[in-house]
């Protein structure tokens, strides 16, 4: 049989199978439903009892039958988008309390996967929306066609091949578990307590040529910066001045931020191109430019990293804007005669024309955005 034909036959078989398979399953499912009857009803005379009635269950958003006293958990699951279908119901029936934490349904769940699938098939009889086979069945993995073509009942292995593996995480079971390799590839952040630092080391001496080659064109040979690129070094005791110079040495609270930032975003335009050891060496060199270390032989490593403190670590306070007088003492604002005399201009806009043609570069002293 050609590959093409195989697929066609397989598809045709799959489309033909569900009705027969469900008919058989549903009969078995009726017996399984005996375990549910104490609380749930289906059929013409069904009403809510200890549990909600299960007519038109497929396509119903969880926790939405009016007048039934659902658990908070079930209502929230519905509000989050839990809609009953073959997959969600199968997952719930297998372990109700794990699936919807806080559900009032005391039933511990059906241990046998066959029972679950039989029961859902039975319940579908009472839901109009479930009459048409869901599209996902047609796109399910193709199974060996021969056995089906001869009308034999599917073996247990074939049944599991049709049923998609039921994800167990979360509430809606969306997304997939991340692999260790994936997390390692992206999770490169470093915290002040050293969490996230990679193995490795680098010295001031190793950092110097790297810095000259990769960093100095913007940050200057001594961290003094070219143009408006960030100044990296110096600026000590300037934070209370009219023009503070905020550098790694004068302003940054933690060395981990230096390592983290070089590693994730530098050099500008060629991020992630430095090795972990090179980042250690550059971080050591920046410490040297700021006189935090003075020995050219100094080696920064994962082991000694958290022993380095930056001068301005204690220079930061919590957000206390609300204690400022204009907020703390807020009263009804003045509406009439709020200030004496006529308004007089004390300062005009320094930069009347913000477009660059007429040499406004000098006006940059007026302020900055960053």
């Amino acid at each position: 049989m050609s590959r093409f034909l195989e697929v066609v036959v397989a598809a045709a078989t799959l489309l033909a199978i569900p009705a027969a398979a469900h008919a058989q399953d549903a009969t078995a499912g009726e017996k399984v439903f005996a375990k549910c009857k104490a609380c749930h009803m289906v059929g013409d005379s069904a009403r809510n009892r200890i549990g909600p009635h299960l007519n038109e269950l497929f396509g119903r958003t969880a926790g939405t039958i009016e007048g039934f006293n659902y658990s908070k958990a079930m209502k929230e699951a519905g509000a989050s988008g839990l809609v009953w279908d073959e997959e969600t119901l199968g997952h719930f029936l297998a372990n109700p309390r794990a699936s919807v934490k806080g559900t009032r349904m005391a039933f511990p769940g059906l241990k046998d996967e066959g029972d679950v699938s039989d029961l859902t098939a039975y319940l579908k009889r009472f839901s109009k929306q479930a009459d048409t086979a869901p599209a996902e069945e047609a796109s399910a993995p193709v199974v060996e066609p021969e056995a089906r073509a001869e009308g034999k009942a599917p073996t247990p292995e074939e049944k599991t091949a049709i049923v998609r593996p039921i994800p167990t995480h979360g509430v809606l079971h969306l997304g997939r578990p991340a692999t260790e390799q994936e997390i390692t590839a992206w999770d490169i952040d470093v915290r002040p307590d050293g969490l996230g630092l990679p193995e490795g080391s680098g010295t001031v001496m190793e950092g110097e040529p790297l810095y000259t080659e990769r960093c100095a064109s913007c940050h200057g040979d001594f961290g003094e910066a070219i143009g408006r690129w960030p100044v990296l070094a110096g600026g000590f005791d300037t934070l209370t001045r009219e023009r503070p110079v905020k550098t790694i040495g004068s302003y940054w609270p933690y060395l981990s931020t230096v390592y983290d930032y070089i590693r994730r975003a530098m050099p500008f335009g060629d991020a992630r191109s430095l090795t972990d050891d090179e980042v250690y060496a550059l971080t050591a060199y920046v410490l040297y430019l700021n006189d935090v270390v003075t020995d050219q032989e100094f080696e920064l490593s994962k082991e000694n990293f958290t022993s380095i403190e930056l001068p301005n670590e204690d220079g930061f306070v919590v957000d206390d804007r609300l204690s400022e007088p204009h907020y703390a003492e807020a009263a009804d604002p003045c509406m009439r005669n709020c200030k004496p005399g006529k308004a007089k201009i004390t300062m005009h806009a320094a930069v009347l024309d913000v477009t660059p043609e007429d040499g406004n570069e000098d006006e940059a002293s007026g302020g900055s955005i960053d």
């Binding site: 991340a178 999770d187 503070p244 931020t257 306070v317 804007r321 302020g367 960053d370």
Partner: protein, 421 residues
Amino acid sequence: MTEMKSSRRSFLKGGLTAGAAAAAAAVSGRAMAEGDPAITEVQDWNRYLGDGVDARPYGHPSQYESHVVRQDVPWLTADPISSVNFTPLHELDGIITPNGLCFERHHAGIADIDPAQHRLMINGLVETPLVFTMGDLMRFPRENHVYFLECAANSGMEWRGAQLNGCQYTHGMVHCVMYTGVRLKHLLREAGVKESAKWLLAEGADASAMTRSLPLEKGLEDCLVAWKMNGEALRPEQGYPLRLVLPGWEGNMWVKWLRRIEVGDKPWHQREETSKYTDLLANGKARRFTWVMDVKSVITSPSPQAPITHGKGRAVLTGLAWSGNGAISRVDVSLDGGRNWTTARLDGPSFSKALHRFYHEFDWDGSELFLQSRAIDEKGFVQPTKNELRAARGENSIYHNNGIQTWHVAKDGAVENVEIS
């Protein structure tokens, strides 16, 4: 007109507009006798055919609106790749910012991401670290919300006094759109946040790999992971295909090109929350984790880029107000530099943590005006004056300048950014 000629180009623009208005007035004078040629003569668009439906598959504004664009100020930053441009607030109305006019701020250029290759990872202190595709995210329950986004450094150039002549430059690092996305709490619940978790780290996929720490409570409260703005896909410069939305909080935290949320028990102290986006006070100490954007407003017209060109008589003053604390309850305007105030008319929808539009219609007698607006939010916070802010913080904070703005309207209708007594 001599006063206008002596000033620089933004005034000239105003002058030209005023000249055009004068010409129109002359025409309407003649029209008394002969009729306005705009009416009496058959116009080209009234005679000849226009473009067909196949000419503009993605529509764009009229050619007569080509001046309504974002503008940058090259000297502000070292390089346009890591820089900012400004929303033309003076040309807009209502509360929604058109997608193509939302100001841009990025730190390593606009990432160009194939959504089929985009992933969102949740890792750290969770039961199951997860990876979502864009398709996975769209299977979560969606919500639509209108929020303003303001850069913490909006008006940051004005701390030391009046600097830039136009509300586009003084206040244009704000925009307001409707986002469509999923609540971050749903994604976190899917991964199962562990008991010890207190903080989140959001990370972008661009070449700056932008990162910010935020408290878990905010993530569970109202944060969205969004993929649409104003009904269509996020613009690349706004984070296509995915961005974080933190209603009412400073724009830098709304990480664009969002690829990862890490759950942890302490903040990470990343570059943009230590070296940047910390508010240096006069005493040399700096506030950190200053997230909320305070109550603020600005008159968008008249303003330096939108002078009064019609002369004396009926005039419309309009502007925007917003607060990270919730909805705006009231806006007052003053025409005399804060001596006397009148409550303006708020119009249009009022959404929490969104822009609000206000109007004040008045008869202008042709005398000089000092225009100010003062917003009050639903929590009762009143927009402070710039001098109140300077008294409390000094002039080196850069961020969170929500002081009251003054526009001077000269007798000829030209408008300038000033500070007053």
